[in-house]
């Protein structure tokens, strides 16, 4: 039973990583760039949700929509101002710019919302009005899954399936895949590469907003640096699963959450992060392209 409850907390934590990792992998798969500012867009999403619920007194679900809208705009603006001018530049230049954007967002948040942590009211409160936990009891109450965990897992699976369908079946999705394979050839085929990449950023940032609200519902507090550590872990998850692969990001995120949780429970709370990254190294040694990543042979 104990094992099961650790497993459940691992899966729900992993689902948050997975949603963030999906955003990373989308942008990487299509624009071939690492958007390190992704973690900070998550933080902005969290703050927008807090502002919407506490200042505008909107209900929780509406605050998520508002956060998605704001983050979508933010993502497109970041892409247009910071990344578009660097389309032809080396990938290292884009990477440094992304880190700069990350810092910019953190410091902007610091100026706007201040340094002290803000409490975050989860979109599904931990307990109901009678003080009973909002959770689904299993095995006669020995183990329980909180509704917020169920919501996170559900959201994660839906987003993963929707993205797979979107990139596989729709016209815009096909355009994205074309851009990811060869930008030049895609342009010759009449695909507007810039617009396609902007749309990718819009989707990635909207996902970041959802991830932000769900992440903060777990951690119940928010600071300008909240996004950076989950951002790094989600990036790890994306690499673990095979960066660029949508099911890979999902799998990587969930596995990472489970490993972290079980390592904390059975090995050491101190070494949990070290174990996590050790597993990553081993996987990459055995399978350099990640669990579900495609191995692309080099053309000579």
């Amino acid at each position: 039973m104990e094992f099961l409850s650790y497993l459940i907390s691992g899966i729900s934590l992993g689902s948050v990583y997975a949603i963030i990792a999906l955003g990373y992998t989308m942008v990487y798969g299509i624009a071939k760039m690492l958007n390190f500012a992704h973690g900070d867009v998550i933080m902005v999403g969290g703050y927008i949700s807090i502002c919407a619920t506490s200042y505008l007194e909107l209900p929780g679900w509406l605050s998520v929509l508002l956060a998605m809208a704001v983050c979508t705009v933010l993502g497109v603006v970041i892409e247009g101002l910071a990344y578009k001018p660097l389309r032809q530049a080396t990938s290292l230049a884009v990477l440094i710019t992304a880190i700069g954007v990350s810092y910019f967002l953190q410091n902007a948040a610091l100026l706007i919302w201040g340094a002290s942590p803000k409490g975050f009211t989860p979109i599904i409160p931990a307990t109901n009005a009678q003080g009973e936990p909002n959770a689904l009891p299993l095995f006669g109450g020995q183990v329980s899954i909180s509704y917020i965990s169920l919501l996170t897992m559900g959201a994660c699976i839906i987003i993963m399936l929707a993205l797979t369908f979107f990139t596989g079946q729709t016209k815009l999705g096909k355009a994205m895949r074309a851009c990811s394979e060869d930008k030049g050839a895609a342009q010759l085929m009449g695909i507007n590469v810039n617009r396609t990449i902007s749309v990718t950023f819009a989707i990635g940032s909207a996902l970041a907003a959802v991830a932000g609200v769900l992440l903060c519902s777990f951690t119940t507090s928010l600071m300008p640096t909240t996004g950076s550590m989950p951002g790094i872990k989600a990036f790890t998850a994306a690499v673990f699963g095979g960066i660029g692969s949508i099911p890979g990001a999902f799998l990587g995120g969930v596995l990472l959450g489970i490993i972290e949780s079980l390592a904390k429970a059975y090995i050491s709370t101190q070494l949990a992060n070290a174990i996590l990254f050790a597993v990553l190294i081993i996987v990459l040694l055995v399978k350099p392209s990640g669990l579900l990543g495609k191995y692309v042979p080099e053309k000579v």
């Binding site: 690492l34 390190f36 942590p117 936990p133 951690t219 709370t269 101190q270």
Partner: protein, 415 residues
């Protein structure tokens, strides 16, 4: 070649970012020190002129204007401590200046973001600006670095709330207003042994933090001596202070009915919320780092109902001095002062008493003041908000009675 480039880029990116992440706590604020928190210099300077003939001359021999340098985190996640301590100190400074006596104070607070390096920088800036006595640092980590410097330079230092033993260890010129960590750990264990007999205790502490680790060590030692059963210990670090489900599940499964939390209020707020979510309701027992949880923005104070903490200051104490202080703090800053505000307030009064006992004058150098004050500190006794008849050992350790409070309906009450 494409693939090789890609791998290189990934590695570079990961390395860059982990470096950045490592210093994000310290590197990201700088310019963000909220101007509104700076005490207004204007009121300070005009105070003597206005109140010069009130006729409540204190019975001291000190005279002149003394410049106090305050060091504490005014930004980042520990800002709540630094701001409270500096606001409290400023109220004491204003009060003393308003007496119109021979002693006048000027307080200049500097931000250290609770970072040792920035603390030392702040200290040097204060020296350049002419500070003669240091009130700081508010946090232990920075305090250890700052007191090492002030010991070298012979500048008298009084820390409102730097509670680690290392802040005062081997430095004869640094004194504490707050309890040392061993005292807090021992005090908590004594309190639990006496008032919660038969408790099964679990401890969750942050093991990359001197403050948390220090209290935990003495707590565990004293608990053993008193026969308290410790059934579980969970740890976390700065990077993992957002998810405690594993530690809480473990404590719950081992049947702990008291959860001792020698940690700061921010992770504590997460623990309270996650424990409520899994309907685990032990008695939460915190120390001074828990102080501040009620003023955290957006925090649901219902979660903190029944939380006990060891603190020397309670804003609902009924003595006149506490009531006046709470009223004034509320007027100026719109919130109820916490223990750190009271520590800051007391720190200034301790300096005031010590200066009077030693007969210092404002034109003395920092070094002369330091030697004079070090000599008198073990001889004076100060009545403050955080304790009656506080006395000091030559080592810098304070002696006063600890007190436990319990949170009821969003305020501290004595159980």
């Amino acid at each position: 070649m494409k693939k090789k480039n890609l791998a290189a880029m990934l590695m570079a990116g990961a390395m860059c970012f982990s470096l950045l992440a490592g210093c994000s706590g310290t590197g990201s604020t700088g310019s963000a020190a909220p101007a509104s928190e700076e005490p207004s210099q204007g009121t300070q300077e005009s105070a003597p002129a206005e109140t010069g003939n009130q006729g409540t001359e204190p019975t001291g021999t000190a005279s002149g204007t003394f410049k106090l340098g305050g060091i504490g985190p005014l930004t980042t996640d520990t800002a709540i401590y630094g701001k409270a301590a500096m606001n409290g100190a400023q109220i004491a400074v204003d009060e003393i200046n308003a007496l119109g006596g021979a002693v006048q104070f000027e307080l200049q607070p500097e931000d250290d973001q609770a970072d040792p390096e920035l603390g030392v920088n702040a200290y040097h800036k204060l020296l350049d600006d002419g500070a003669q006595i240091i009130v700081g640092s508010v946090t232990s980590g920075s305090g250890i670095a700052v007191s090492a410097e002030t010991y070298k330079d012979r500048v008298f230092t009084i820390t409102p709330s730097g509670s680690s033993v290392d802040v005062i260890a081997g430095k004869d010129n640094t004194f504490q207003v707050c309890f040392t960590d061993p005292n807090q750990g021992t005090g908590s264990a004594d309190y639990i042994a006496e008032n919660l007999p038969g408790a099964k205790v679990a401890v969750i502490y942050r093991n990359d933090d001197a403050y948390s680790q220090g209290i935990r060590d003495t707590f565990v030692a004293e608990a053993k001596a008193k026969g308290i059963e410790i059934v579980d210990e969970g740890t976390f670090t700065k990077d993992t202070q957002t998810d405690f489900s594993v530690q809480l599940t473990s404590a719950q499964n081992k049947g702990a009915d008291v959860l001792f939390l020698p940690i700061y209020y921010q992770p504590a707020s997460v623990i309270l919320a996650q424990a409520a979510a899994m309907s685990y309701a032990p008695t939460f027992f915190g120390v001074d780092g828990m102080d501040g949880i009620l003023t955290m923005e957006n925090f649901d104070t219902k979660l903190a109902e029944g939380v006990m903490l060891l603190t020397p200051f309670s804003a609902d104490a009924e003595d006149e001095r506490t009531q006046n202080f709470v009223k004034k703090y509320n007027e100026l800053h719109g919130e109820t002062p916490n223990q750190f505000a009271a520590d800051g307030y007391d720190a200034v009064y301790v300096i005031y008493e010590a200066l009077n006992a030693a007969g210092c004058t404002g034109d003395m150098s920092a070094e002369e003041i330091c030697e004079a004050l070090v000599a008198v500190m073990p001889t004076i006794s100060v009545d403050g908000l955080t304790g009656q008849g506080m006395t000091w050992k030559a080592s810098g350790e304070v002696s006063k009675a600890p007190m436990a409070v319990v949170i009821k309906d969003g305020v501290y009450v004595t159980p």
